[in-house]
């Protein structure tokens, strides 16, 4: 787009035929740019961006007998003065009315509102809980959030990021809860972004996260409006990006990455138990193959004799050392998983059959891979699916490999070294100023009520201290349900 046109006034000296030519030039004679005369002026629009029926009904029909602003029945009519404004409006789906002899043009927004239906998000499905997920349309997503938080203190700040894609990015926060420092930090990080295009929220995520080299996500992404609303209620900040159903929520802690939205929709005892299962399986998904390799290679005496005998018998036929076997199988499993995502749906079944039969049974029967290894890999694979945040699971999947190598070369000591390095890394991570392992390290006792357990809602009286310390109280005390006992009730009625 030639820059010199940007600042120029439209209709300079009311020479409108010339400004129409310039508009045409800005769009480089694109075939979908239409300029159609009406009595007393011209209407300029992109055929592909507007709703033709609405153009006819709300604009053309009304100005058939000459332009009159108050006859146009559209909620969005904006006077436009510069070429930059005019082009942007046309791109956004407005019909631009250039009226002869007037200094300003009028943009009437009649854009196409095609979007897919609100569906259940496939990455974060729940058994109990709302089924609606974000779509690719920013306005629809904002509607989904606003519908859940019907308060004027929900603030939406919109900005445009991307020189070419000019993507709309909306910053959401709850005024009165959000920590001003956090908000300032997010805003200033967003302002520093200079990029040609934003096609997905990950572009933004990678440009504003705290530790660009860390594998662990310090910004949460979610497809669920209820997760966004929950985060805003805790005093966190959300970013919705036009064109993707994945919203960003920040800051994110290690423990936050292990919480699922359903934790809050199911009974707290179950939620707590399931959280612990997740913690356990997090370790299994990270360490199980390495522990197997370490024990079978270096510390066979740790196994009970009977188990040792059966493992040794199973491993007898395998030509590879346990380390090689583990790496082979893990890589194969990851490949199967990747293939399952990429393959066209009808072929998917073929892959699972090939995976189950060839990798599982045939490889063992042929004596290439030992049977215990298949079990180990299968359990590890299942364990990695218990992590609720998909991108957090990536880190675990990837870190498994260096730890397997450490275990294969140095046994349990290697695993310990790997774990210590990992823990040091995690201790040093921050997400928008908040330590990643908070509230466990550094310790904040009141924060543990939503980390190690999920206390009932009537006990969750305060917000997490790290993000919500400005307005800590979530609900007043004494909310524990205490219905009158039948006996006392009966007594009351008798009186």
């Amino acid at each position: 787009m030639p820059r010199k046109h940007r600042r120029r006034q439209l209709n300079e000296n009311a020479l409108n035929s010339q400004s129409l030519d310039e508009l045409k030039q800005i769009f480089g004679e694109s075939t979908d740019l239409l300029i159609r005369p009406f009595p007393g002026g011209h209407v300029v629009y992109l055929r592909t961006q507007i709703d033709q029926v609405r153009l006819e009904e709300t604009v053309l029909e009304r100005i058939r007998h000459g332009f009159q602003l108050d006859r146009i029945s559209s909620a969005y009519v904006l006077p436009v003065h510069t070429f930059a404004q005019a082009t942007q409006e046309v791109l956004d789906g407005s019909a631009l009315l250039v009226v002869d002899g007037q200094q300003e043009a009028y943009a009437v927004r009649i854009n196409l509102t095609e979007h897919r239906a609100i569906e259940e998000p496939s990455t974060e499905s729940v058994i109990r809980g709302p089924r609606s997920g974000f779509t690719e349309e920013l306005d629809l997503n904002l509607y989904l959030v606003r519908k859940r938080m019907r308060t004027p203190s929900l603030r939406v700040e919109e900005q445009i990021i991307g020189e070419i894609t000019r993507t709309r990015v909306a910053l959401l926060y709850e005024e009165g809860i959000v920590e001003p420092n956090l908000l300032r930090e997010v805003r200033s990080r967003l302002q520093t972004i200079k990029i040609d295009g934003v096609l997905e929220s990950n572009y933004i995520e990678e440009l504003i996260q705290d530790s660009p080299f860390s594998m662990f996500p310090t910004i949460q992404n979610t497809e669920r409006p209820d997760v966004v609303a929950g985060a805003l209620l805790e005093g966190r900040v959300a970013l919705l990006v036009d064109g993707t159903p994945f919203a960003l929520v920040m800051p994110l802690t290690f423990w936050g990455a292990l919480q699922a939205s359903e934790d809050y929709y199911s009974h707290y005892t179950i939620a707590t138990a399931i959280r612990w299962i997740r913690f356990t399986f997090l370790f299994i998904s990270l360490l199980f193959p390495s522990i197997y390799v370490a024990i079978t290679t270096f510390h066979q005496e740790m196994l009970p004799t009977n188990l040792l005998l059966s493992v040794a018998a199973a491993r007898e036929g395998s030509p590879f050392p346990a380390l090689v076997e583990a790496l082979l199988m893990e890589v194969t499993f990851e490949a199967l998983r990747e293939a399952g995502v990429r393959l066209p749906k009808p072929v998917g079944q073929a892959v699972s059959i090939v995976g189950a039969l060839v990798i599982g049974q045939a490889a063992v029967e042929a004596g290439i891979i030992s049977a215990p290894m298949v079990i180990v890999v299968a359990i590890t694979g299942i364990a990695s699916f218990t992590i609720p945040r998909y991108n957090f699971g990536y880190a675990m999947r990837l870190l498994r490999f260096p730890i397997i190598i450490l275990a294969g070369s140095l046994g349990l000591f290697g695993i310990v070294v790997g774990l210590m390095l990992l823990l040091i890394h995690l201790c040093g991570l921050r997400s928008f100023g908040i330590p990643y392992l908070a509230p466990l390290a550094p310790l904040s006792l009141s924060g543990l009520k939503d980390v190690l357990v999920r206390v009932p809602h009537w006990m969750m009286r305060s917000r997490p201290r790290q993000v919500g310390k400005r307005n800590l109280q979530r609900m007043p005390a004494g909310q524990r349900p205490a219905p009158p006992t039948p006996h006392a009730e009966g007594g009351g009625e008798a009186e």
Binding site: M302, V417, L421, C427, P442
Partner: protein, 376 residues
């Protein structure tokens, strides 16, 4: 300057003090009275902790070298500071060697010693590069793991039906032996080693918690040592307990639960790895902070690489064999290094500093300005 929260500081101190036990045990030569020695030395440890905090309160807000400089003059203070730096590096190397030898003996007999030591030192280096705050958070996290292990160890030993509390009798039967293990080793290690934390007292975020953190962690560590000693003696019996080089390991080897859980000694690697790591790292941290303070460097990380290499060299060339290593550690080092450095010099410095007017009430008020002057 980095600030460390109270919980983190306390867990760092507790792990640090337990660290020595985990490898070589504590006062095991006192046989069934080892727990008694542990209790008594906890008492002396509290006295030492009092001395160190008093020393710190002479000039609060300063690190150890700063306190020395202000108490006995810049030249002598710096010289003393360098002595301590040297000692910390040496002890760091000793612990590294202890650890390396143990792993080499029990877990990885064919791996070269230097590889094992190098790996652990790399972890230390990475941690210190990330900073004291990160190390202290690590300690807090590690403490949960460690606590879990102590509980699990106790339960497993109870469940294995190997404990015999009659081994503890008669109480205090060899006074000579008790005294021998108490002086000088029992009173200097691990509680005298706490002097390394004098380099970090000023990093405690909430200075009002200092007493609670220091005395609480010394007391807690002492009780834990007492319990571990009781557990060890009742499992192994007094003679074997006194004779084994690695009491904790030998104790854990006795765990047998219905042929399913046995030979847990390798799991001790985790235990020991954490403890040794904390110990090495704290000493290395104290040494680099001290060097930075003596030479007025802004960031201790500048001297981290040379000091780390020095620790590795020391650990490698320190001694020819395990016996030599243990002999030097038990017979020479306590008298030559620990008694003067942990008891005599701090006491002298405290007396001199007191006479020269440190620790007055107004000293605390001018804390901020003195810190700045020291830095300038």
């Amino acid at each position: 300057m980095e600030k460390i929260g109270s919980f983190q500081f306390a867990s760092l101190m507790v792990l640090f003090q337990i660290g020595s036990y985990v490898i070589f045990g504590f006062a095991s030569s006192a046989k069934q009275d080892a727990w008694l020695v542990a209790l008594v030395s906890t008492g002396s440890g509290l006295v030492l902790a009092l001395l160190y905090t008093k020393l710190y309160r002479l000039h609060p807000g300063l690190d150890m070298v700063g306190v020395f400089r202000r108490s006995v003059g810049a030249l002598l203070g710096n010289a003393l500071g360098l002595c301590y730096v040297g000692a910390f590096v040496y002890v760091s190397g000793r612990v590294l060697r202890d650890f390396g030898t143990l792993i080499n003996t029990f877990a990885l007999p064919t791996t070269p010693l230097v590889v094992i030591m190098l790996l652990l030192l790399v972890v230390s280096f990475v941690g210190l590069q990330a900073g004291g705050e990160v190390i202290s958070r690590f300690a807090l996290f590690a403490w949960f793991v460690f606590g879990l292990f102590v509980v699990a160890q106790s339960l497993l030993l109870l469940g294995s039906d190997v404990l015999d509390f009659r081994f503890l009798l008669p109480v205090g039967h060899e006074r000579q032996e008790i005294l021998k293990s108490l002086v000088p080793l029992g009173i200097t290690v691990p509680f005298g080693e706490n002097i390394a934390f004098l380099m970090m007292y000023h990093q405690l975020q909430d200075q009002r918690d200092l007493n609670a953190v220091v005395f609480g962690s010394v007391g807690f560590a002492g009780l834990l040592l007492t319990w571990l000693n009781v557990l060890g003696v009742t499992t192994l019996g007094p003679t074997l307990y006194a004779r084994t080089v690695y009491p904790l390991l030998t104790t854990l080897q006795q765990v047998t639960i219905s042929d399913l859980v046995e030979n847990l000694d390798v799991l001790v690697v985790l235990y020991i790895g954490i403890a040794a790591f904390i110990k090495i790292t704290v000493f290395l941290y104290a040494a680099s902070l001290g060097t930075a303070s003596v030479f007025r460097l802004h960031d201790y990380r500048v001297v981290l690489i040379p000091l780390t290499v020095l620790v590795l060299m020391l650990a490698t060339y320190m001694s020819q064999s395990v016996s030599e290593h243990v002999f030097i550690g038990l017979q020479w080092v306590p008298w030559v290094l620990w008694v003067p450095l942990f008891i005599l010099i701090p006491s002298l410095v405290y007396i001199v500093g007191r006479l020269r007017g440190g620790g007055r009430p107004d000293a605390e008020e001018t804390q901020a300005t003195t810190t700045e002057r020291e830095r300038a």
